[in-house]
Amino acid sequence: MLNRRNRIPQQVSFSRRATNWVATAAAASAALLVLAPLFAIFGYLVYKGIGSINLEFLTHTPRPVGEAGGGMANAIVGSGLILGIASLIGIPLGMGAGVYLAEYGKDRYSDAVRFTADVLNGVPSIVIGIAVYALIVLRQGHFSAFSGGVALGIMMIPTVARTTEEMLLMVPNNIREAALGLGIPQWRSTISIALRSAASGIITGIMLAFARVAGETAPLLFTAFGNQFWSLNPNQPTAALPLQIFTYAISPFDEWHRQAWAGALVLIVLIVVSVAAVRLAARRGSVRHTA
């Protein structure tokens, strides 16, 4: 026994040391292998996309097949319109649900809501698309930006709700009690004290939900539908950047492929910039928390 306890690591048998080394190498190469597609995708996006982005691409609508030039301006604006509608639906409902779960949610009903929200988060986006199609498009009789916004808004709710809850639970209870002790009604203390203290974290959650739905294509296929022309009417079929990329990518025309890469680059830049900005903001927020 004494002998064994005195063993120093160098005396570990060769086969065990070899296994240890092989496992470390395997884990490290797994990390490298996972990062490879990321760099490949970004590399190709920049390489193929950057030559096609010019002022015309950002300010013009698509040209007919066979004509060079044209752009995706209507799709960029259409995406903005659809995402605006989605945010108007997803953010208030999600935040409200999050507030309830954090401030009142200690019963089994709230556990059921948490579970449902997590499950809703995993529902395939295309299924949400079908449901909204049946719910709105079939009843109205036409595709619309509004129905696309509803579909994306529904997808935002679970993420926003769960991050709002998590962030509110991190606000110390003494602050709420202090507010109540000063005679502030509970609803005021929730809005102006608890929500305000948790603001940076909640904004992070909202932005992540936003970034996630910004690239969604499947639920828009039969809700917003797409449009080759300008449309700012929420009641009309509307172009969206991911939809346009999809249509162009599976088309047989080289000119459209080129534009698909350019659109993809614009989309990824918009998304990555917002995620990175949010991450920076969140880091600053967490520093403030510990201080």
Partner: protein, 353 residues
Amino acid sequence: MKAARPPDEPDNQAVILPNLAIRSAAEAGTPVPSIAFGERKVRSAGLGTRFADTVFKYAMLACTVSVLAIVALVLYELITKSKLTIAEFGFKFFTGQNWDPVLGDFGALPFIYGTIVSSLLALVLAVPLAVGVAVFVTEMCPKTLRGIISFTVELLAAIPSVIYGLWAIFVLAPLLRLHVQPFLAKYFGWTGLFTGPPFGIGMLAAGIILAIMIIPIISSITREVLVAVPQHQREAVLALGATRWEMIRMGVLRNARTGILGGIILGLGRAIGETMAVTMIIGNRPEIAKSLFAPGYTMASVIANEFSEATDDLYLSALIEIGLALLIVTLVVNALARVLVWSITRGHVRAHA
């Protein structure tokens, strides 16, 4: 004190009653809840405040109801809109191999097969890599690299599905066609999995792109679970003279396996429902073929491709029924995964408290 407040004054009752309750609680020696102080101080605005508090609470409650309502509504819409094919084909819908919209004959087996094969292929490729990354980040790599690697893996999750599809069509598929598939056919053709003409696009490409897409979710959940393994488990195994890998295998992975399994199932749920990238790369042919080089079709991609072309009610109903099946499968898979992950991470929170 109680006698000084005549209980039969009707307009005071609403205000007095809670106070009485608080006072009797205090007299009985139980601690008064802190909220009660607030209520007492603002007695003059009591009714209005309590009204506003109630309204606020119920408004927030309504938001939570909306979450439940959405899931219920989605289920309801899919069930009512797929009644036609449920009545006409029954369970045969899921075992039939013919998909002929013109003749009105609908069997979804090729799509179910495509979904299962592409998702399993994705898991086989993704799980070792994702767990490897998670182990590397939490247990092995220097601290400075830790943040960078997990941030870049998270970035993979931020790339939209349609961009994966675009990349797969123009970069991955040619790569497979020219280099990977000839190699596989030459050395592993005898398995029967790698035969036939190398198109590039097909089941293999779909599985690879799905694997890339589900790695972030599996690895981030695995990381969460690994971090939740108590430090003393590691120290105990190390104290017995284990090497680092033996420590990871016996002290960490063994304790975390339930949670890792949850993460894997969550990744499976993602793979089953993934639509755009798969639609762009799988080849979209409703056939059941053994070879992974052959084109296939998945449940999600048949909906994406054919939904807006579905002209008659039976066709539409068939596609919606596929959507319903997809929904139910993902609901079950996700619920299972959540239960597994919660069982680990919740214990972690409790251990800290």
